[in-house]
């Protein structure tokens, strides 16, 4: 980790995708127009969120248990802070975010009420049409299922509409076909596809190549040699 960006151009679904992919521990900081919040990420799960006046203060913290002890928050109530300071803001676009590696020690296990997979789908459901079009940009795109899509879908807690969209992904149907066959609103289908992509449940299927590259092996070897010499 060690990334910054704007929520206006890089959505929560995109950020959660990075957190999920890295499965690291660190901090997810957002400078909103009204407040600053910091979410504590442990092994790719957001376990606690709180508002903070001065962001630099958070970088001096060493032990997570002493942080929540000081704030007098019992472990079983940590999820309420995620609800209050993160989930309630998933529809906002006014923040600037940072994902920061942070060596804060976690001494025990902490309950995770909202898995990163669940958060990703929750945020995908709130995407605007122009945001969805950033990744579901081609009617002709074909998606195929990843080998572990079932396990991920379980963690993501799909709703019936999303489950229906998922059932239509077969490595043959285009995005156009899925929209038509799902008989749902286009935005609902596209949000679902966006979320599945972010979760790694589906992936782009490359169009099969019918012909070999129009160049001989001998010439290609020569080109490689020539480029090395440039």
């Amino acid at each position: 980790m060690g990334m910054t960006g704007e929520l206006r151009t890089f959505s929560f679904a995109d950020i959660f995708q990075i957190i999920l992919s890295n499965r690291k521990s660190g901090l997810f900081v957002i400078e909103w127009e009204d407040i600053n919040t910091v979410s504590y990420v442990k092994d790719g799960e957001i376990i606690f969120t709180r508002p903070i006046d001065k962001i630099h203060k958070v970088y001096t913290e060493k032990e997570f248990d002493s942080v929540i002890e000081k704030l007098r928050i019992p472990k079983q109530h940590l999820y309420k802070t995620v609800e209050r300071f993160l989930l309630s803001r998933l529809d906002r676009r006014d923040g600037r975010f940072s994902l920061v590696d942070r060596l804060i020690t976690y001494d025990s296990d902490y309950p995770v009420a909202y898995s990163i997979e669940t958060l990703t789908m929750m945020s995908a459901r709130l995407l605007e049409p122009e945001e969805v079009a950033r990744k579901i940009s081609e009617d002709m795109l074909i998606f195929e299922l990843s080998s572990d899509y079932k396990q991920i879908a379980e963690k993501a807690k799909l709703n019936p509409q999303e489950a229906k969209v998922l059932s239509l992904i077969d490595g043959e149907r285009t995005v156009f076909d899925i929209r038509k066959d799902a008989k749902l609103e286009t935005l609902t289908v596209d949000r679902s596809l966006y979320g599945f992509l972010a979760l790694g449940m589906i992936r782009r299927k490359k169009k099969e190549r019918k012909q070999k590259p129009n160049v001989s092996l001998e010439l290609l070897v020569k080109i490689i040699k020539r480029v090395k010499e440039v």
Binding site: R134, V215, I224, V227
Partner: protein, 182 residues
Amino acid sequence: MKTIKKIKIVIAGPFSAGKTQFINTVSEIKTVKTERKTRAEGEKAVKEHTTVAMDFGKIRIDDEHELYLFGTPGQSRFDFMWEILGEGALGIIVLVDSTDPSTFHEATRIINYFQSRYSVPMVVGANKQDLPNAWSPRDVATALNISESENIPVVPVSAIDKEMVKETLIRLLELIRDELVS
């Protein structure tokens, strides 16, 4: 007089990803540019001139062959050039400004476009790795939804560094070679 056979590689990418610089760094001729002054407010703040049709550079291979590098315009209003330049290309390099996640979606759109139409080998160059705040190639790959099965390498590059530009080109050429022998 012998006819020179042209071998085409396309350099695509969002606005200000470094495509013109990439071609300039490795081309043996002065890059042929079709630049105009930027007009859009957001673009003017980034750079004064931008490519409007294509950039073009080349490397002479032998007496009969030349490697042509065509750079596409970055703005989506010039999408129609992707089709023109993509036709007959041996491979595609998609450059991404690793320091600017706001452009990653445009890069995704470009990859989606080519992946759903032209099944040619593709390499993503995570450019501007020399700058602070550059996202790692691995994180860029995640943001662009590139899965391992797609066989699209995401390589670190700085378009001002000749060796890195050459390595990116060679990576693409090796992919093409693998397709030939498979």
